[in-house]
Symmetry: C2
Subunit: 143 residues, 2 copies
DNA sequence: AGTTAAATTGCAATTCAATCTCAGTTTCAG
DNA sequence: CTGAAACTGAGATTGAATTGCAATTTAACT
């Protein structure tokens, strides 16, 4: 399914579904969780496919452009991505103590953000909300 | 006031309030708005003070560490900062076309986030919300 | 004021993610 | 099949950020 979407996207842009691009695509969807370009590059090699770092970067941009992948955040070590197809939108809470990442979703929150965008004549397309603090476990451990 | 806070912070860490550090500090608080390290470096030069790029970067880290300055976001062109002392909490909308940064604050949004934290037994301390899209100007320009 | 150890600076070198260049390769429409 | 256009990989390049280091500055203590 992802493949179909990607091939469609490429077709519409006059781009070609090369082995390298498909290798990147399949690897991105072969696991769950966050990743950075280098990690992905190594996984692709490991999987026996081949695609240079340059191709990984180039393909990643395409995947983001067609909405199959999202750039989650930028760290001091580079960009972090996650695949989004088949996963609904969510935001993150990150525990400063143990690093646990809790995903959450709130319809109300989404609507409120739309309202705020409208108030500012801003056409919002994506957002990132990251709440930092302490998770239940670490809260009690503290006291 | 900022100066007092910063001097205190330096004192506690056994660091020295050098001309360069103070020059960076004053320049940061001499204007309102967002900035990147290079822009700050040029402003300092312009103001007749002197501090190398290295010192600007090093001092900026200290200012973030002591809470007077906040790293707002990371763009493809580098980090963006803002001074926080004397400014209340707000979130950002960033235009993908022209890079404009719009600040906003919503009481409702804050409350809603508190609710969501409570639902997840999470003790939230800070958050970052960044909405990306197109600002009014770039919206109309597009069509 | 003078001395000295520790902190600091600036420059240049370095790092590292990301992008670009370009010659050789692959794709696919006709 | 064939050729034009699209792609690729390797290495060069970019640019923000960091670091090493010799020279300089700071400030605590005489």
């Amino acid at each position: 399914m992802e493949t179909k979407i990607f091939r469609n996207f490429l077709g519409e842009k006059g781009l070609k579904p090369t082995k390298e691009r498909i290798a990147v695509l399949s690897e991105v969807f072969s696991f769950h969780g966050h990743f950075d370009p280098e990690y992905l590059y190594l996984r692709i090699k490991d999987a026996g496919s081949k695609a240079s770092r340059a191709s990984v970067y180039r393909t990643l941009s395409l995947l983001v452009e067609c909405g199959l992948v999202k750039k989650v955040t930028r760290t001091e070590k580079g960009n972090i991505y996650e695949h989004t197809y088949g996963h609904s939108h969510h935001d993150h809470m990150i525990c400063d103590a143990c690093g646990e990442i809790i995903e959450f979703y709130s319809e109300k929150l989404e609507n409120l953000q739309d309202e705020i965008c409208a108030e500012n004549s801003f056409a919002g397309s994506t957002h990132t909300l990251e709440i930092r603090g302490h998770c239940k476990k670490c809260r009690t451990k503290q006291s």
